[in-house]
């Protein structure tokens, strides 16, 4: 199988991307967004919606041209609130992309899968490209696909924790069974963890805190890009098998000079 950057495309709602890294823009200085996007080679960047304040900088002035804005519905605790936020997001961005987040829980910030399905049903009918953030659950993912979701975005660990692939087994089930792109979102703290998720067959990685809490944000963004690319290539290459007991020599066993 030959797969070049040009032929190995990520397709979301009919839009194609060569990058498999979705970068968050929260919790770091807007001054660093441009460098982070460029080092990440990211083509999609997420944003939140909040009340306008008079002293606030306009984040749109810091976004490199040609980058797709993926608004999120963070702050929504019910399907209805998320639907309202999605409508405002479409008015702001002029595009149909929406990262659907319905999070009633304040301690672990875990999404409400049932409300997320409800909101997806409404928004997909309205023409949104719905990318729902979920607890990795096969039944929910199937309901979301039936409701018209463009992707599913299962969490690897609670958001902002940098804990890595705590839900690995459940994400693997989604990768194996769900036909829309599976984008691992939240909890990925290291490029090695991003690489592991991509090796498993995830279609893309979304990360924010792991960059925002690094000492050098653009450099960590580049490290993530390389990890994601390495994992993707390994997945396409088909990882070699594991020997549980014993060993298999990789050098010839005959002809050893004594």
């Amino acid at each position: 199988m030959t797969n070049t950057e040009e032929t190995d495309l990520l397709t979301i709602g009919g839009h194609t991307f060569t990058s498999r890294f979705i970068l968050g823009s929260g919790k770091y200085s807007y001054d660093l967004i441009d460098a982070a996007v460029k080092h990440a080679k990211a083509q999609i960047i997420t944003m939140a919606l909040r009340r306008t304040t008079s002293d606030q900088e306009n984040i749109l002035n810091y976004i490199p041209k040609g980058v797709t804005i993926l608004p999120n519905t963070s702050g929504s605790t019910t399907a209805d609130e998320a639907i309202r936020t999605a409508h405002l997001a479409r008015e702001l961005s002029g595009s149909d992309f929406i990262k659907l987040e319905v999070v009633p829980d304040k301690k672990y910030l875990l999404p409400d899968n049932a409300e997320t399905v409800k909101a997806t049903e409404v928004l997909a009918k309205e023409g949104f490209i719905v990318m729902p953030y979920i607890l990795p659950d096969l039944n929910t993912a199937r309901e979301l696909v039936n409701a018209g979701a463009a992707t599913v975005m299962p969490l690897a660990a609670p958001i902002g924790t940098n804990k890595g692939l705590a839900t690995k087994e459940l994400i693997q089930i989604l990768i194996d069974e769900i036909d829309v792109p599976v984008i691992v979102d939240a909890g990925i703290g290291r490029p090695s963890q991003a690489a592991e998720a991509m090796e498993m067959g995830a279609d893309a990685i979304m990360a924010n805190t792991s960059m925002a809490t690094a000492k050098n944000i653009p450099l960590m963004a580049e490290a993530f890009k390389l990890g994601i690319e390495a994992g993707r290539k390994a997945y396409l290459a088909g990882p070699g098998r594991v020997i549980e007991h014993g060993a298999v020599a990789s050098s010839p066993l005959t002809g050893v000079s004594k």
Partner: protein
């Protein structure tokens, strides 16, 4: 009084466009909701605010 982003402001009788100018709001990065309904950008100059209206002015900010 008109409630703008949760605060009472004496702007009844003025247009949404005037309100946005007064608040130095970033025109390229905002959406406006009046009493729960989105107001298209093209209507900002025409829509006058009334007593007890509720206005939400929303922008993109950094977020993951």
């Amino acid at each position: 009084m008109v409630t703008v982003n949760g605060e009472e402001v004496a702007v009844a009788g003025t247009s949404i466009a005037t309100l946005l100018t007064q608040r130095n709001a970033p025109v390229s990065n905002l959406a406006v909701e009046l009493n729960g309904k989105i107001v298209p950008r093209s209507d900002f100059a025409n829509v006058l605010l009334k007593e007890n209206d509720k206005v939400e002015i929303i922008s993109f900010v950094g977020g993951g």
